[in-house]
């Protein structure tokens, strides 16, 4: 039997221990599901695809942010014990559910959206798939906004205004998009202590990203791009 310690409550609350039968190839999401269906229906949690594509099931497992559907109990259990908590750095709604709004608000503040520079009357943009910019974008484009990096980042904990690795990573992919028309505004949006310059290269985000993206590399790219723009008086 597994001894599963689960956070119950909101910002204040406590851990409640449940006993869950241990099964082969069990994932942490299986454990949470078992608790909610067979022991305590009042447990709140999020999931969607349960096959490692959507990122909705991200939680803190034994202190580390992970996708619970992609985390084998056998890999993380300390003896027979697991601790499951909501993602860090985000307000807790209830139990294992966090309020994700600030993650997306910060993506908007980093100008993490494409700004067109052409109209439907212009021809198609031609971007070679093997161009250096496209290679840079490819390294960071697979982000699905799961929040694991944001939850893992200590600068986010220490600096409430910090835009965070996901927002900055997305901004970097757009900075490298040759079709985009808002380079200047975007570089201004990600500059300063609330932006890329607050990153201290802890590499926690890159360490934990389930899609093997390295937001640290993207943020380093932003640091260089912003510094160059400032130097040229374009910021």
């Amino acid at each position: 039997m597994l001894k599963v310690s689960v956070w119950r409550g909101g910002a204040s609350g406590g851990y409640r221990v449940y006993e869950v039968p241990r099964r082969e190839s069990q994932s942490v999401l299986d454990v949470v599901t078992y608790i909610q269906r067979s022991i305590d229906p009042t447990l709140s949690y999020r999931f969607a695809c349960r096959v490692g594509m959507c990122g909705a099931c991200a939680m803190t497992v034994n202190g580390v942010a992970r996708w619970t559907c992609r985390t084998h109990v056998a890999k993380v259990a300390k003896g027979n014990a697991i601790q499951i908590a909501p993602l860090a750095n985000l307000p807790v709604v209830k139990d294992l559910v966090t309020d994700m709004r600030e993650l997306f608000d910060k993506a908007a503040r980093a100008l993490g959206r494409f700004v067109p520079s052409a109209t439907r009357k212009d021809g198609f943009a031609r971007v070679a798939s093997d161009s250096p910019e496209r290679a840079v974008i490819d390294a960071g484009i697979e982000c699905i906004g799961c929040g694991v990096c944001y939850a893992s980042c200590d600068v986010v904990s220490w600096n409430p205004d910090y835009l965070g690795p996901a927002a900055l990573n997305r901004a970097w992919t757009l900075v490298n998009d040759v079709r985009d028309g808002a380079r200047r505004e975007r570089l201004a949006a990600v500059a300063g202590d609330a932006g890329c310059h607050a990153c201290h290269t802890h590499l926690s985000c890159s360490e934990r990203c389930p899609k093997d993206i390295a937001p640290t590399a993207s943020i380093a790219g932003l640091k260089r791009a912003v510094a160059l723009a400032a130097w040229k008086g374009e910021l």
Partner: protein, 114 residues
């Protein structure tokens, strides 16, 4: 919810901590260093008596620590400059090992020569 040591238990995070704490320690040491050297304004004898004070084993040990801290901060800093300015490659993880090694080497050289 806040992260604890379990989220931070990976090499790059320890590298950050060493870098920040060594920088802090060096910043605290620097005023003393400048003061001690400034004593030379009062003549060679004054500097000499200060240097004799530093012959004590505890002070010598502290000096070794300082050289280690300086070497650690330097190599950690070079690692950061590489991470921020050079194209991203997978060898960046071994940068940490090189940095640590270089720091240790410098500290050892100093200790051995004492």
């Amino acid at each position: 919810m806040k992260n604890d040591y379990r989220a931070r238990n990976h090499p790059a995070w320890w590298a950050f901590l060493v870098h920040r704490l060594s920088g802090l320690a060096l910043s605290v040491f620097l005023p003393f260093h400048f003061w001690a050297l400034g004593q030379a304004l009062q003549g060679e004898a004054r500097l000499d008596s200060l240097l004799r004070w530093t012959e004590q084993p505890l002070v010598k040990f502290a000096e070794v620590m300082l050289v280690l801290l300086l070497a650690a901060h330097l190599s950690g800093g070079l690692r950061l400059l590489a991470l921020e300015f050079l194209p991203w490659r997978d060898w960046q993880k071994s940068l940490l090992a090189w940095a640590a090694g270089a720091a240790l080497a410098a500290g050892l050289a100093f200790a051995l020569l004492l």
